[in-house]
Symmetry: C2
Subunit: 372 residues, 2 copies
């Protein structure tokens, strides 16, 4: 992942926006293109030919300059701004995640993103006790100097934001930064925007759809030292966030509950599998104490990848091999590389071509699948 | 610990009863005396002189033959009988505990003691949900062929017995086998005596006192493959049972609960420290499956200890050293042996003398303290 050594200038920011909004360009591909071509502008120029050689029939739909300018204006109109990966206001912990959003809409107090953060998530149909617990816990974590990050959903999320409003809370939205969801949280949305901060990866104006929620969850966990799950049923979205947290090397915390309450089966199961049993803020602090120094700069950039000519015969052979091992069921990229028996750089180059050609779907947690 | 290779004959049983009811003779001393003198009768004969040489001023009060005979008659009148360590009806797992009662009053179905058993204990002021959970869990464990062992207390204990009445349950009483405690469990006491089994270490007619409960708890855990704690406050009696279970090498299971309920703080803490998080009977069965073969015979006898002459000069020197390391605060015998830097057999001989002289108190979990 390349590092932005300084704030982007307006032209660069527009190019970044155009590149990430172009067809078939997700975060992983974005960073690979940036590394290969040196700038978003150069990548935009190379994209059409790259996609054609990767086997794409229709031309790749680039994001037009005026569309990007309109989005910029809409972001500003919504009272927000775009923060780029590696800029000072971009959450430092999130920057270390492999598929971190190249650009985030940000509204509110950016200083909250520079403090150490704890995520709190949980059931939408939470019990009254669960919501009370979440509110108190958020209050106490806030008092210890932690920013409380959540997803502004009903139930536990909303309670966590409410508890941390006085000390600082960040809501990560599944849709655009100006879209209130769910409707019942309209007032809270406004309060968090005013006294805390909102973050969104999707373009302004985007209504949240089911597929946006897992992507949102990876940002919640990625921006935080750990994720505390308060009430969660088995096979619930909160457990997906916990799974991302583990993939991202974050600590997972869970609040125990009665086996008679289905809303506790998920958290109990997390504890059974190693999550920190959490009853008080002290339980959280004890685990993350060592990391409670203010985050400063993003991680150092990795070595640039060796450039591989798209459409070369080496790539063509590798692509056949990679396709054999891909299916509509997602597999981790690591496992794919092992199974193919090819150099990682070569497999990554193939995956980039496949994504540009619209034949690959990237999923959070470094998993890939054939596009349906 | 010596092994009783066959059922005791009536005279031996009476001698065992006299020896364990004699002043200052607890289970550990009982087995040491039996090992040293070969029989309870010979130990009874040697006791007065032994106690005198150990530094006792008043003569040691032996249990008189007619007192023992009266107790025997009272046991029979209560519809019970005395079972000796190592006899077929003595719980085989309990027999492997170092301070297992040499004699137990038993009333009811002895066959239940030969099946694998699980203990269930918990708060007396249990919640309605906790009691419901305990009843259902006991029913399910019973359906899997496990005898459910508990203490016939209010709350969780009573619910566990109720749930396991149809399949088989054993109540271990803190007082005598004929003493109903608490009064509100009178009907349950009668039901367990009729359809399950009652066990008691204390003489028939003994009203339970505070110091009897920890002793009772060591029998509950000792007779079982594991102990499931359902609702327990911090620093509660149920946690003492869990502690015994660990000392005895038993598995500890705990039911999680809300941090907002003080009755769950103890169980949550057990889970935090390694107890098996338990939501269903499957969680229990999965852990103990390998041991679910019917218990058959008691463990093999340990090597007999080398006889050490009481009152010898070697013993006198050792006694001074041991006394330096003893205080009214209980210490584990193992630690005492290490601290004294003396052979274990010598320290054990000193402890036996001290106990007979009334200067030592033995506590469950192989701990000893100076008598107050």
């Amino acid at each position: 992942m390349p590092r932005a050594p300084r704030p982007l200038n307006p032209a660069e920011r527009l190019d970044w926006l155009r590149l990430i909004r172009s067809e078939n360009v997700g975060p992983v591909t974005f960073y690979q293109l940036l590394a290969r071509y040196g700038s978003a502008a150069a990548a935009l120029e190379a994209l059409p030919e790259l996609a054609r050689r990767a086997g794409r029939k229709r031309p790749l739909a680039l994001c037009a300059r005026d569309a990007a300018e309109r989005e910029m204006a809409a972001v500003a109109k919504a009272g927000a701004r775009l923060v780029a990966w590696g800029e000072p206001d971009y959450p430092a912990l999130l920057a270390a995640v492999d598929d971190a959003p190249p650009l985030l809409s940000l509204c509110g107090d950016a200083a909250l993103l520079r403090r150490p953060a704890m995520a709190m998530v949980g059931a939408r149909n939470a019990s009254a006790n669960g919501r009370r617990f979440a509110r108190d816990m958020a209050l106490q974590l806030g008092a210890r100097g932690l920013t409380v990050v959540s997803g502004l959903a009903r139930g536990i999320d909303a309670a966590a934001h409410q508890g941390a409003l006085p000390t600082g809370t960040v809501a990560v939205l599944a849709g655009g930064i100006d879209i209130v969801y769910p409707e019942e949280n309209r007032e809270l949305h406004a309060l968090v925007a005013e006294r805390g901060a909102l973050l969104a990866e999707m373009p302004v104006g985007t209504e949240p759809q089911a597929r946006h929620f897992p992507r949102r969850n990876r940002i919640i966990s990625g921006a935080s030292l750990g994720v505390l799950v308060v009430e969660a049923a088995l096979r619930s979205g909160s457990l997906i966030t916990a799974r991302f947290a583990l993939d991202q090397g974050r600590e997972v915390f869970a609040v125990p509950g009665s086996p008679l309450d289905p809303r506790c089966r998920g958290t109990n199961d997390l504890i059974r599998h190693g999550a920190v049993l959490t009853e008080t803020a002290d339980d959280v602090i004890a685990e993350i104490e060592a990391q409670l120094v203010p985050a400063t700069s993003p991680p150092p950039p990795p070595e640039p990848e060796p450039a591989l000519p798209s459409g070369s015969s080496e790539l063509a052979g590798a692509m056949a091999r990679v396709l054999e091992h891909l299916s509509p069921a997602p597999v981790p990229v690591d496992a794919l590389i092992r199974e193919c028996g090819l150099p990682a750089a070569l497999v990554n180059a193939v995956l980039l071509d496949l994504e540009l050609a619209g034949r690959l779907e990237r999923q959070p947690g470094q998993r890939v699948a054939l596009a349906g």
